[in-house]
């Protein structure tokens, strides 16, 4: 379905940063049914520096980023994870500041639909902002193709 312009021999690599396994399964299904892209998933983030190194290692062509991600609580007393949209924004900011990763298009797919969140993501350099409950599966593929100019 997709004709690659740049990497003729290599499959397109999509990185999905998403903590909800049901969501990543759905996206994996869509990608595997309709494309020959490779989908890698990072499902938990704990340490911004280490996670960022992981992303660099994967070196994807495009990143699908969820904003509300589990973060380690600041004090150890709390235990468990807390869900925090700041983590998503932090990763986005880091991706767009680092020379190695700033050219990778980032598509935010979030449950958040507030204008403030959309504006913030765009200001930080996100290519596109999709709201989870408002899109249909094929639109994710369209968004990736659009972001890569396919």
């Amino acid at each position: 379905m997709s004709k690659k312009k740049k990497k003729k021999n290599k499959k397109l690599k999509v990185l999905l940063i998403e903590d909800d396994n049901y969501v990543s399964q759905l996206y994996q299904d869509i990608v595997s049914f309709d494309t020959d892209w490779e989908l890698e998933v990072i499902d938990s983030l704990t340490d911004l520096e280490k996670d960022f190194e992981k992303i660099k290692k994967i070196n994807p062509d495009v990143i699908l980023l969820d904003l509300i991600l589990p973060a380690l609580p600041k004090s150890k007393k709390e235990g468990g994870y807390i869900l925090d949209k700041e983590l998503g924004f932090q990763i986005l900011e880091k991706l767009k500041k680092d020379k190695k990763t700033q050219k990778i298009p980032v598509i935010v797919i979030s449950a958040l639909s507030g204008e403030a969140d959309k504006d913030r993501a765009k200001a930080l350099g996100a290519e596109k902002y999709l709201v989870k409950s408002e899109i249909l599966p094929y639109q994710i593929i369209e968004a990736v193709e659009e972001a890569l100019g396919l």
Binding site: D29, L112, S113, E115, A116, I135, L136, Y138
Partner: protein, 538 residues
């Protein structure tokens, strides 16, 4: 002699006011320590004023007594200044921080008081010329002034230093305190030090003396103000006390038994009514405060509710998006073919999910509106495109009901609107969606036109309609009126409310007309083009 008369009036007035003020502070100040210092200060102030006055009153006949009396007034001067310092530190609550300074101020205060009281080094003697009292100063006058100046600076230093770090509430207190202090210091330096010591002007001493009232009055106000037994109560009490004292004086000036009797009755009656008056004012203020608290609580509860709706809606959207996604994949046979008999239930489930998403979105919009979090992303857009897009989305629903569904727009393109296209779309969508929902047969027509600098969007249907009474609550939250209630219960009841809010945000107008139940309805949206023109000018 008119001067003495004025002086007499002033001295009596100051005594009277000081007693009332001391009483008010005793009654209203929550801090025991401040109460004590304040009471002590009032006592010092009255002694200062009275003894200084007394010495002038008896000066000619009893020079020794006058000298003695004046000395008492002069002993009190440094003590009053010292008490001002301690009051300042207490109000600031910085007793520990300025412990050493306090010791020093106390030492100099007592030293200068003793110096004036037990030696003739500060005041050597007094003379009377033209009924004005002149003081002969001794060699220790300058050190005495030095010590008083030290006490003044020691008071002002922490006051200014802490002022800028103080909380807003304390700051406003300190402001009054500062005004009183400044007035007192200034009057004293001019009339009690500079004028008599350097220019030999002695007859204006009383301005300096009586200015002791300034720090007292302002401080009392500042202390009591925060407890906000409010100025109203204070003033009432003040007035009641003043009149009561005057009535009492009048009572004692009675000449006949009958006069004693009726003035006594008047005095007691006034006391009873005065008491009632004060109590009723206090009750009124308490009531108002309670109301204020209740209102704040309600407001907080309402905000919590809105916040709750916002968070819950967000959490609902996650799984809803998933269900919608999977259903779409199944319906589009991504997971392979499915039996034909499953087609309808699957499609219905998908549609129900879509509706659920819409309801959750409505709730989210509602919470955003109520939290004031709505922001408009304004840009130029073509209204026809939006209406076409809505038409495409709702056409299947209209066809299902065999409705005549059409759009009428002028042949020439309409001028572009400047606003948030998503919000405008939401508003028009809600109206058209409603029209289709509440129309069983006939038509739904959407028309667009430009009229006097406005874009007018008209949505007419041959559906349920509404009565004039129902119109009143049509655009309210959670309203589903008349027949609409019976036919369709899948909506959130928020569509029109949200549409109204969004259109109002664009400075537009939204309204509706109907000939009555079952006679169809027309909804109008009017959006101004002028914002665009203003933009172009820029």
């Amino acid at each position: 002699m008119p001067f003495f008369t004025l002086n007499q009036i002033l001295v009596s007035l100051i005594n009277l006011l000081a007693i009332i003020i001391a009483f008010l502070v005793l009654k209203h100040s929550p801090q025991k320590k401040i109460k004590k210092i304040f009471l002590f200060m009032t006592l010092l102030m009255l002694s200062w004023v009275d003894f200084a006055y007394f010495s002038r009153l008896i000066g000619k006949e009893f020079p020794f007594l006058a000298f003695f009396s004046l000395k008492i007034a002069w002993i009190i001067t440094p003590l009053f200044s010292t008490s001002l310092y301690f009051l300042t530190i207490s109000i600031l609550k910085k007793e520990k921080k300025y412990k050493n300074l306090s010791k020093l101020v106390l030492f100099f205060g007592i030293l200068s008081a003793l110096l004036t009281g037990f030696t003739d080094l500060v005041i050597t003697e007094i003379k009377f010329t033209n009924s004005h009292l002149t003081i002969e100063y001794g060699p220790a006058m300058l050190p005495f002034l030095g010590m008083i100046s030290f006490s003044i600076f020691a008071t002002l230093f922490p006051l200014f230093r802490e002022y800028f770090q103080a909380s807003a509430a304390l700051r406003s207190k300190l402001q009054y305190f500062l005004i009183g202090l400044a007035g007192f210091y200034l009057a004293n330096i001019i009339f009690n030090i500079i004028f008599p010591v350097f220019f030999k002007i002695v007859h204006l001493y009383w301005i300096g003396d009586y200015s002791t009232f300034l720090p007292l009055g302002f401080t009392a106000y500042a202390i009591v103000r925060k407890e906000l037994f409010e100025v109203k109560v204070i003033l009432t009490e003040f007035l009641v006390a003043l009149i009561a004292i005057l009535l009492l004086i009048d009572f004692f000036l009675s000449k006949t038994l009958f006069e004693y009797f009726w003035k006594g009755v008047l005095f007691f009656t006034f006391l009873i009514f005065g008491n009632f008056l004060i109590k009723s004012v206090i009750r009124e203020i308490k009531l108002r405060k309670e109301l204020e608290i209740a209102y704040q609580k309600l407001k907080k509860l309402d905000e919590a509710k809105t916040e709750f709706v916002s968070i819950t809606s967000h959490q609902l959207r996650g799984p809803l998006g998933l269900i919608k996604g999977y259903l779409w994949m199944i319906l589009n046979k991504k997971y392979g073919p499915f039996p034909e008999r499953l087609s309808r239930p699957l499609k219905n489930t998908f549609e129900a999910t879509q509706r659920l998403v819409k309801i959750v979105n409505d709730l989210l919009n509602l919470s955003r509106i109520e939290l004031g979090k709505i922001t408009l992303e304004k840009r130029y857009f073509q209204i026809e495109e939006i209406v076409d897009n809505i038409y495409k989305e709702l056409l299947p629903a209209a066809q299902k009901k065999n409705l005549e569904f059409k759009i009428e727009k002028p042949k020439k393109a309409l001028p572009k609107l400047f606003g948030d296209p998503l919000k405008i779309r939401e508003a028009i969508f809600n109206l058209v969606d409603n029209a289709i929902k509440y129309t069983q047969k006939g038509f739904v027509k959407v028309s667009l036109e430009e009229k006097n600098g406005f874009i007018l969007i008209k949505i007419a249907d041959s559906g349920a309609g509404f009565t004039p009474e129902e119109l009143k609550e049509l655009f309210e939250k959670f309203r589903r009126i008349g027949q609409g209630k019976l036919m369709d219960t899948q909506g959130s009841g928020l569509g029109l409310y949200i549409a109204k809010k969004f259109i109002k945000l664009h400075k537009g107008r939204i309204w509706a007309r109907s000939q009555g139940r079952g006679k169809g309805s027309v909804f109008y949206i009017k959006l101004p083009l002028y914002e665009q023109k203003e933009k172009e000018k820029e």
